[in-house]
Amino acid sequence: MAINTDKNSYTIIFATIMVVVVGSILAFLASALRPNIQENERFEKQQNILYAMGVNENDESSVSFIPTDKVEGEFNNYIKEQLVIEGDKVTNDDEAYLIDLKKQLAAKKKGESFKLPLFIGDKDGKKFYIIPMYGKGLWDAIWGFIALDETMTVQGVYFDHKGETPGLGANIKQRYFMDDFTGETILKGTKYAGIAVVKGNNDPLNNTKDDNEVDAMAGATITGNGVSAMIKESVNLYKGYLETIRVK
């Protein structure tokens, strides 16, 4: 059987069938797997929030979350309040963690009203204020959570990324990078300066905790700058609320 594959009509028919077939396979797959994927993403968010406040199963150098089968319970256990900040209005919402920060920031950019989630955790009687963050790395989005106490000292962070270079920018989710932030202050005087990722600050062990700086990763300058910008923007977004809880 010989088909004349050079004919225009054949080409068009083939292209149409191909698009319909591949499109339906992908659409079917996406909707069939959607519930599973959404649940995984929900658990991941809970794991990340808990990680930032130090509830995790880390050993000396690993990044280990609370296992997915336990995370829901632990999340309800440790996270005492979930707030939604809308302008000056602060409300409680038990599903605040499902708010997509990316969409809210897009709404803010367009000048529409937007909601900011904030989580209050409690571990051994100590309060943690956990702020979600969202920003840009070198290739794609980066995001994370930062846990603060009443003095605006960082208690822990978690960073993640969509497509930073493995071995370089992707190292923002490594322990040696994230651990450096713990103990740093986000304040410079009374200004919300955030924490900058800088090259050559002559402090690779990060002994100075009040300089608003951590040591950068080699070969990942743009990702590091993205992290700096993300932290600064996020803490300034929450400035209004943070001022109300800050111990002066």
Binding site: I3, T11, I25, L26, N36, K162, P166, G167, L168, A218
Partner: protein, 215 residues
């Protein structure tokens, strides 16, 4: 003779050395530069390409007689993109942790020229079984170079292998670092991969003069 005839064996073995996709065919260089800063990423990428190229070659080969030649590149692109997205979605639903590690590679695989290169050069003209072997062989050849480059870049650039410190601690100055050794920061930036690949090509050609083109 068992499962593989002499010709079939060559389909797998040739790309490992004398017809290596990276060092001889010069395919897949971009991803070889991008992700070989550490050994683990190299291994993950090698396995992912093995899977996609093996399967993609079979699919393209099965369709080879009905693909209109005018739009064959687009068809190839759709096949590889669909395959990668299917795998990505299934992993996201059932092996979320693994999918997070792999998500960075998804874009790199779709645009990897080694895949389009083998579809175009081999699968469009050969049967499914041969195409499968060709896919496996070429991705192994690609993977070997990736792993060699990743090994040297991680060892000399970060002093670790698969994340484990093998040369001591560069900050506390233990192990080899106590003698004044320093990590070579150049090794972790992409141009270093080009130099390592260049050295591999040099070694390979000096061992096998038949590979050197006459001027």
């Amino acid at each position: 003779m068992g499962l593989l005839s002499k010709k079939d064996t060559n389909l797998i073995l040739d790309p490992l050395a004398d017809n290596n996709p990276i060092t001889i065919q010069v395919l897949g260089i971009c991803s070889a530069l991008a992700i070989t800063a550490e050994l683990k990423a190299s291994i993950v990428m090698a396995v992912a390409v093995l899977f996609v190229l093996g399967l993609g070659n079979v699919v393209i080969s099965l369709m080879r007689n009905i693909i209109p030649s005018k739009i064959r590149i687009i068809v190839q692109l759709i096949v590889v993109a669909a395959l990668v997205i299917i795998v990505d979605q299934v992993l996201k639903a059932f092996a979320y942790e693994l999918s997070k590690t792999l998500s960075v590679f998804v874009g790199l695989i779709i645009t990897n020229c080694i895949i389009m290169g083998r579809f175009e050069a081999f699968a469009l003209a050969n049967g499914p079984w041969k195409s499968f072997l060709d896919g496996i062989g070429n991705s192994l050849g690609y993977g070997i170079i990736l792993i060699i480059v990743g090994f040297f870049r991680e060892l000399f650039g970060s002093g670790t292998l698969l994340g484990f410190p093998v040369l001591g601690d560069p900050i506390a100055k233990t192990g080899l670092y106590a003698t004044g050794y320093e990590n070579n920061g150049f090794m972790i930036i992409p141009p270093a991969a080009l130099i390592v690949v260049g050295i591999i090509i040099w070694v390979q050609r000096s061992r096998n003069p038949a590979l050197v083109e006459d001027n």
